[in-house]
Amino acid sequence: MAALAEVDYVVEVQSLSVRYANALALRCVSDAVQPGEWLGVIGANGAGKSTLLRALAHLVPYEGVVRIDGANAAPLSRRHFARLVAFVPQKPELPQQMRAIDYVVLGRTPHLGYFGVDGDHDRARCASLLERLGLGAKIERTLGTMSGGELQRLVLARALAQEAPVLLLDEPTSALDLGRRVEALELVDELRHERGLTVISALHDLTLAAQFATRLLLLHEGSVVATGSPAEVLDETALGHYFGARVQVLLSDGELIVIPRRRSERKP
């Protein structure tokens, strides 16, 4: 690949493999994500979605190369890396007694000195982030008193406080109800446009993945089996095969809807 072309990708992955014990959880995954793209990683349970995200976040050892903004990410210090990539895990740890503002301020860690303490500037930024995410009135509340939807936005606020161009989300909406789920993804999409973020997220719900991601990556047993626009990847036969289920894909008002069906024709 030409040197010039490399700069066009924010995140570039070459032959990425991850080994757990002796099993390969990720086999030779290669991809290049462009700035501002939202890559939705889909696949059945155990297909390697979380592993891919955790490898991209440098939380598990991997073989292969990950480039961020054209530079090999492996030799970067953790602190430096955290300024480029923010990671939101599937089940974030939420200290019940911590105040919302203090939780979001943790996101400033990569911008502070090792023994440094956040200043007025950091807290003001975090306060305006909370304001932006509709949590302005909850700044002093402790996490234990907040609802699931509020906590989801709070976790997002902490990731945004890192001011990293790349946002990794591992099943960001799995704990939310239907309404909060769409709301959270809308918010991510708004922020992606506002801040020019590159988003890579594992998504369970294929209909939502089709509506929000600009490109999908389908994993099966650790390998990439398809990538492209939602319309290209969400193919009834392929999904049926890789998810081991009968699936119907409908087109409604220009949006793809993926519906799981009973396997047999038996009526209840």
Partner: protein, 355 residues
């Protein structure tokens, strides 16, 4: 989407976790406790006498105190060193407890869980048995034993799994403590003649405190306190767990190693002069957490100050409850600590998230 509001004007910076007020309150309490504990004793002294003697030792002011030489000696040579030493020991045990609970994310972690006490006990026993002038060697031997035990705990615990998790280190601590305690008991049984000094040290006491003891542990106490306080924000980062701390650009293992080393240094120094005093590391940080913000920016400094107050009061109890005899200090803290331990367990069950 109604959840998202546009920013209305520049947001002003919200107040940081405020440590000032709790620290000031804790300091006022400490000063009161120090004066009280210095005044109370078999020879009753007035607060005025205590203040007079203290003032006469200020480097830049030598008022004529008018206090008799014997009262001078009681305050300056007997009571005050004991109060100060108790304060240093209490502050290290409490800070050690708060720090261990933070890095291992286990509300019941305390200096004893990691084998510090068992190691120090073995060291002290070896010193008492092997030398007739053991009283001079005892602090150093206890220190070496405690540090050795924690090092072993750390090595075993961090080898146990690929990423050293909090629970595997605590389990290693229990195992190492069991081995050290067995060795210590065995030695003690073989040298029954020395049973008495070993036993009284194990129960914990400040009855022979002197300024030289204070001088002996002060450097370690200062180093430990400075290193722990420097990590107060990083301890808050660890509250979101190992993986998320790593994603925020922190090396959890490095933070843990530095904090465990500093906490152990302070604890081992404390235990070496005071003997085994349990539960301070659990009671004090938990009360601080219940009454203030749970941030380590508050919990660490306030635990240090309140730990000093707590142990000085406990030692006052040890001196006065059975006067003219003494109740072992470790017995006093255990009497308060046992029920408290159960309270922590119960409250932990009803609302998760003491940390």
């Amino acid at each position: 989407m109604n959840a998202v509001r546009s920013t209305s004007g520049p947001a002003s910076a919200p107040a940081p976790v405020s440590a000032k007020k709790p620290i000031v309150i804790a300091l006022v309490v400490l000063v009161a406790v120090v004066l009280l504990a210095t005044a109370i004793g078999p020879a009753d002294l007035s607060l005025g006498t205590v203040l007079n003697v203290l003032a006469s030792h200020l480097p830049w002011w030598h008022p004529h105190s008018g206090v008799s030489a014997i009262n001078q000696a009681i305050v300056w040579e007997i009571r005050l060193p004991r109060v100060v030493l108790g304060g240093l020991v209490g502050s290290m045990l409490a800070a050690g407890g708060a720090s261990y609970q933070g890095v291992f994310r286990n509300p019941l972690a305390d200096p004893y869980l990691l084998g510090v006490a068992a190691g120090a006990g073995l060291g002290a026993t070896v010193a008492i048995i092997s030398s007739s002038r053991s009283m001079y060697l005892l602090p150093a031997a206890a220190f070496v034993g405690g540090a050795l035990a924690v090092t072993l705990t750390y090595l075993v615990g961090s080898r146990a799994t690929s990423h050293s998790s909090g629970s595997s280190i605590v389990l290693a601590g229990v195992a190492i403590a069991a081995v050290f305690t067995a060795l210590q008991t065995n030695l003690q049984q073989q040298h029954a003649a020395d049973l008495q000094p070993v036993y009284s040290w194990m129960l914990g006491s400040l009855s022979v405190a002197s300024w030289s003891d204070v001088g002996l542990i002060l450097p370690y106490v200062l180093i430990s306190a400075v290193v722990l306080l420097a990590h107060r924000r990083l301890l808050d980062v660890l509250r979101v767990g190992e993986e998320e701390a790593a994603a925020l650009g922190v090396h959890p293992q490095r933070v843990r190693l530095a904090v465990v080393a500093a906490a152990t240094l302070g604890t081992a120094a404390a235990v070496s002069v005071s003997g085994l005093i349990g539960f301070v590391g659990i009671i004090v940080p938990h009360v601080v957490r219940l009454t203030t913000n749970a941030s380590y920016r508050v919990v660490l400094p306030v635990s240090m100050i309140s730990g000093a107050s707590f142990l000085i009061l406990a030692d006052l109890g040890a001196r006065m409850l059975d006067a003219p005899g003494e109740v072992p200090l470790g017995v006093v803290t255990a009497f308060i600590g046992g029920p408290f331990f159960i309270f922590v367990l119960r409250s932990r069950r009803t609302h998760q998230g003491v940390l």
